[in-house]
Structures are given as structure tokens and as C-alpha cells.
């Protein structure tokens, strides 16, 4: 599926490559200095820590490397491709997005747009171009971290929008998409739980998993693999999503979004990779406040399940929700952002409370300063507090892990970004 889309995209691009008259290539790299305070090794190293870094993997290190290409193939067609360099064992260089965008010239107040390929749905309020980068802080909220880790649209999306002619201060839009290749969505949440960081999974990538699952599955075959590929088609059934949004000038944007990957929870590949049936509701709000402040808020609520129907539940059967509020303000080339979050992951129907939970809060305070057109420095304090048991003890504790964890880290990041090519 992914390979097919990629080949199609490249074929189209090369066929029209000679006519690209506007292109933009942005290259970026981040260098981070991290002090991580967590008693648990990071999930990236098969531990149960929620941070991307841990005591053995912090200090001075490169934390990001990307190339973002956007080319105008015709007046109405664009090609967008983003490559990230990953700090995992394999799939070091990987595409995070590769798609064709269609933007025909409107013949009326209605605007119809389309995207075809592999791309992020428009959910995150924190991220933007280039390369789906965080504009406000060094770490993303739990919701957007999860999206960057295991959610991607591999398919077709159409958006219809309109600026009201008699009330031009309002713009409305609706969107819908059909996609494949995201059947494992939910597995990372179930096995690793919520997290907050800035690492995106590539289309061909595999995410390392902790050895102890965050939510204990009801059967052995529900345990996490050592490495987990989120972008696979398992059951050959398409998923879909739909959204509606309202924007009022540059004061407010409100968007509702519903997602369902329509996966068959009992489907599995020959390699034993399961499909997770996942759906969620999402609400996003962006609000301009007085005195130059801005408010971002996202809320997500959903369900995911996998494996055989064991009667009262499936092998993994979970309810999840998360939300955050972020306050931000610019001071010239400086930016301050404070974010507070709530996250929860509960097994469905677990009266004795033995299979764990992942419930907690995140606090992030970040300062960003663009001191050169190509250079930005950032500093962020991040704290994740989680409570893993509903009762006094649960499977988490039986594995020798602390019932409640507080993980924090301080990070200083130097970001370099260079734009090449003619007009963007």
C-alpha cells in the first residue's frame, strides 16, 4: 500500500518534474542538550519511561534532521514530501509525508481541495510547515505526540470550504477522507501509553516497544512486539474520517473531527501484527485572547481494541482520552508557551483494576527565541506525572515498576533551518 502510493507519487512527480517552476526545499537540524530525570529507562530503549530520553541517553545529542520539499507541478497541483532522519536502529532515513495536493482555482465562493498520498490529517494546532514542526514548544502535547507517532492518512482527502459572502469574516469548511494502512493505530497507546515528545514515525518505520505493556493484555498474544510498525494494512478494509470547522477572522478557529480506521480487530498479518479497531472524537480550538495572548486547546476521546472477543472484552480493549490547554505569547522574536495536559487510558470493563491504567498530567513550559533568520534556540521544562494503578497494586507493580511516576526533563535545543529554492 505504502510502496504503491510512493511509486505513484514519484511517477507523477517525475513526469511533470520538468515543469516545476516554483519549488522550495527546507533543510533543518536540531541539536539538543538534555537533562532527563526519570527512574525508568525510555520506551525508545524498551523501558517503561515516557520520556524520549533517559539517564543513559541524554546530554548533548542531535535530536532531529529533516528535509521538506514542496514543488508546484502545475498551477493547481503540488507535490509535498518530507524526509526525517530517525534515531532508531533501522529505517534511519524515512518519509513522514509524501503526497500530491490539488488546489483548483475557485469558480465561486466554494473552494474544493484534495490531498492524495501519505500525510497528516489537520488535527494538530501546534504543528505547521515545514516538516510538521512544533511552533510553540520543544515537545508536543500527548495528543499530537500520538499523532506523530502512529497516525497518518494514507489515502484520499477532500475539503470543501467557503468564505460566507455576506459575512466574510466567517469561513466554514468540511472535510472527509478514506484511507488504508493505519490498522495498527492504538497499539502504541496500549503498550507504551501516552507520551510527550517531538519524534515522528516514518511511513516505513518501526517504533521500539517497552518489554512490559502499559495495559496488561488479557492474553499472552496481546503482548507488544520488540518493534512495532504503525503504518500497515492488515485487514484490507478502508478507514475514514470527517471534520467540520469554523473560522472567524483571526480570532477563533473551532474544529470537530471524527476518525474510525474501521479495522477488524481479529485480523492479523502472517507476522502476527494485529489490526486495532480504533475510533475517536476530536475537538480543536484556537483562540486569540486580549493583550496579545493566544490559546490552543485540543480534546480527544476514543476507543481501541484488538484480538479475539473473549466475552466481556477483547484481548486488548481500551478507552482513551486526552486534552490540553496551552497559553502562548510572542515578545518580538521571543515566544513563551505554557501547556497543561490531562491524559487517561483505561481498560474497558476491568472491575478488579488489575490490568493497569495510564492516567496523568503533563506540564510543559517553553521559551523559544529566533535570533537569526535560520537559527532558533529553545528551552523547555517538561514534567509527566502518571498513575499506573486504579487500586493499590496492579500488573504494573507486579512487574516491579513504581505505581506512580514523575518524569521530568530540561532541554535546550538549537534549531537550524535553511530554505533553498525560488519562491516558496
Amino acid at each position: 500500500m505504502k510502496h504503491g502510493l510512493l511509486l505513484l507519487g514519484l511517477a507523477c512527480a517525475s513526469a511533470i518534474a520538468g515543469e516545476i517552476d516554483r519549488h522550495r526545499l527546507v533543510i533543518g537540524a536540531d541539536l539538543a542538550l538534555v537533562a532527563a530525570g526519570s527512574e525508568l529507562p525510555s520506551w525508545l530503549h524498551h523501558g517503561n519511561g515516557k520520556l524520549r530520553f533517559d539517564g543513559d541517553h541524554d546530554g548533548l545529542r542531535p535530536s532531529r534532521l529533516f528535509a521538506d520539499y514542496r514543488g508546484r507541478l502545475t498551477p493547481n497541483w503540488f507535490l509535498h514530501a518530507v524526509v526525517n532522519f530517525n534515531d532508531t536502529v533501522s529505517e534511519k532515513l524515512d518519509l513522514t509525508e509524501a503526497y500530491l495536493a490539488w488546489r483548483p482555482l475557485p469558480a465561486s465562493a466554494w473552494r474544493l481541495r484534495g490531498r492524495f498520498g501519505a500525510f497528516y490529517p489537520r488535527l494538530s494546532l501546534e504543528h505547521g510547515e515545514p516538516a510538521w514542526s512544533n511552533r510553540y514548544a520543544l515537545s508536543a502535547s500527548a495528543i499530537n505526540t500520538w499523532i506523530g507517532e502512529e497516525l497518518r492518512t494514507l489515502g484520499l482527502e477532500l475539503t470543501l470550504s467557503r468564505r460566507l459572502q455576506r459575512h466574510p469574516q466567517h469561513q466554514l469548511s468540511i472535510e472527509g477522507a478514506m484511507f488504508f494502512g493505519n490498522d495498527p493505530l492504538g497499539g502504541l497507546l496500549a503498550w507504551r501509553g501516552w507520551s510527550a515528545h517531538d519524534r515522528q514515525t516514518g511511513l516505513f518505520g518501526k517504533v521500539p516497544m517497552p518489554t512490559v505493556s502499559v495495559i496488561e493484555p488479557w492474553r499472552e498474544d496481546g503482548q507488544p512486539p520488540a518493534r512495532f510498525p504503525p503504518f500497515e494494512e492488515v485487514d484490507h478494509r478502508p478507514g475514514f474520517y470527517a471534520g467540520a470547522s469554523w473560522q472567524w477572522e483571526e480570532r477563533l478557529r473551532l474544529k470537530y473531527f471524527f476518525y474510525d480506521n474501521h479495522a477488524d480487530p481479529e485480523a492479523e498479518t502472517a507476522n502476527g501484527l494485529y489490526a486495532w479497531e480504533t475510533w475517536f472524537n476530536h475537538l480543536g480550538l484556537q483562540l486569540a485572547l486580549p493583550a496579545g495572548f493566544g490559546l490552543l486547546a485540543q480534546w480527544l476521546d476514543g476507543k481501541t481494541r484488538m484480538g479475539e472477543d473473549l466475552g466481556p472484552w477483547r484481548v486488548q480493549d481500551l478507552l482513551f482520552d486526552a486534552s490540553y490547554l496551552a497559553l502562548t505569547r510572542r515578545f518580538g522574536e521571543h515566544r513563551l508557551t505554557a501547556r497543561y495536559e490531562w491524559f487517561d487510558l483505561q481498560p474497558y470493563n476491568d472491575p478488579p483494576g488489575i490490568t493497569n491504567q495510564d492516567k496523568g498530567n503533563v506540564l510543559a513550559v517553553a521559551w523559544l527565541y529566533r535570533f537569526r533568520p535560520t537559527l532558533r534556540i529553545g528551552a523547555e521544562y517538561l514534567r509527566i506525572e502518571s498513575r499506573h494503578c486504579r487500586q493499590a497494586a496492579c500488573a504494573w507493580v507486579f512487574h516491579g515498576l513504581p505505581r506512580d511516576t514523575t518524569e521530568d526533563r530540561v532541554q535546550l535545543t538549537l534549531s537550524w533551518e535553511f530554505t533553498a529554492g525560488r519562491r516558496r
Partner: protein, 211 residues
Amino acid sequence: MRLIVCGCLAIFTIAAQAADLQLRLRDAAGDAASDTVVYLVGRQALSADRRFTIRQKDKRFIPAIAVVQAGTTVEFPNEDQVSHHVYSFNRPNAFELPLYRDDLVPAVRFDEPGIVVIGCNIHDSMLGYIVVVPTPHFGITDAGGELRLTGLPAGRYRLHAWSPRLDPLNAVALGPVDIGGRDLSLQLALDRRLRSAPAPGGDDALAWDEY
């Protein structure tokens, strides 16, 4: 030949019967109707070969509201580092700026009177208006709702007003006005309230471009 004749007439008119109109416009609630286009149409529709410039800067049209006489050619220089695909779908003035090289400034000639809503196909937030009028007598009221039109030849005119905060698609007729030899001062009220002006950009705390 025509130019000379017109020139002579103009001198004759100015010497004999040209006047100024000082206009003060309010809306139905009594608030000053600021940034409102006002124009006077005489007995005949008048076109002229003039030029005007609307810049694209910081992903905005500057000016966001422009009023030009029919026959004017408007240039659209792009002063941003990003491409803009400027267009309007309002017939009969629909247009699309063709792909242009950096050394060419695209221009469009507007011959037909009407409201032209301009946008950018890449940046949905960009919004501008060009009001094409069949007269050389036009202006935009200031913050106090005041406007002075000078050198008006004597005659009967129909006064019109337009604002996107009133009715973005239609001008409002304010009735006839007779210009004689003497300067005239008018206070007029619209029959509706003007929607309040958009809040000024809030220091870019948030990003509003479509991703």
C-alpha cells in the same frame, strides 16, 4: 484632438463651476462610517486609462480595499518570499494572475463596474476588495467617516457607498446630490449599522494559515 477639447472644457469648468464636496458619513447607530468607499456617478459612465497598485505583503493585500475607475489597470506586485496565486471569481471581472517570473509584475485591467473580491488560492486568509466605479469622483472615508471630493463639475450625481462591513456584494444608494458652483457639505446616515471593524492583528501569537 479630443484631449485638447477635454482639456479646454476642464479649464472652463474649473474656472466656472467646479466645487468640492465635504461628506460626513455615519451609520444607523450614529457611529462614524470609516473606511467606506463613496462615489458619485454623473449622467454618463466615465472610463479612464489609469493605473493602480495592490501589493501583496505579509500575506495581506495592501490596500485591502481599493476603489478604481472603470478602465484602470491594477498591478499586483508580490513583495513576499512566498508565492501568491491571486484570483477573483466575481463576473464580469473574474481573473487569475498567471504564473509570472520574478521580473514581471502582473496587471489586470478592470473595464466593468462592480465589486471584485480578491483572494489567494494558496493563503485562504488573504482577502481584498476592488470596487470598480464608472466615475473619477470617488474616495474612502477616514476614521472619522469624513471624505472630501474636490473639483466636481456642476451637475446632478447619484451618491453611492460601499463597505464590506455593510454589504460586501452591493453598493448602497444614498440618493441624488446636485453640485453647483459652490462647495457643498453633507452629513449622511446609512440605513443600517456597520459591522465592527476586525480586531488588529494580535502580535502573531497564533498561526492562522492553513497547513
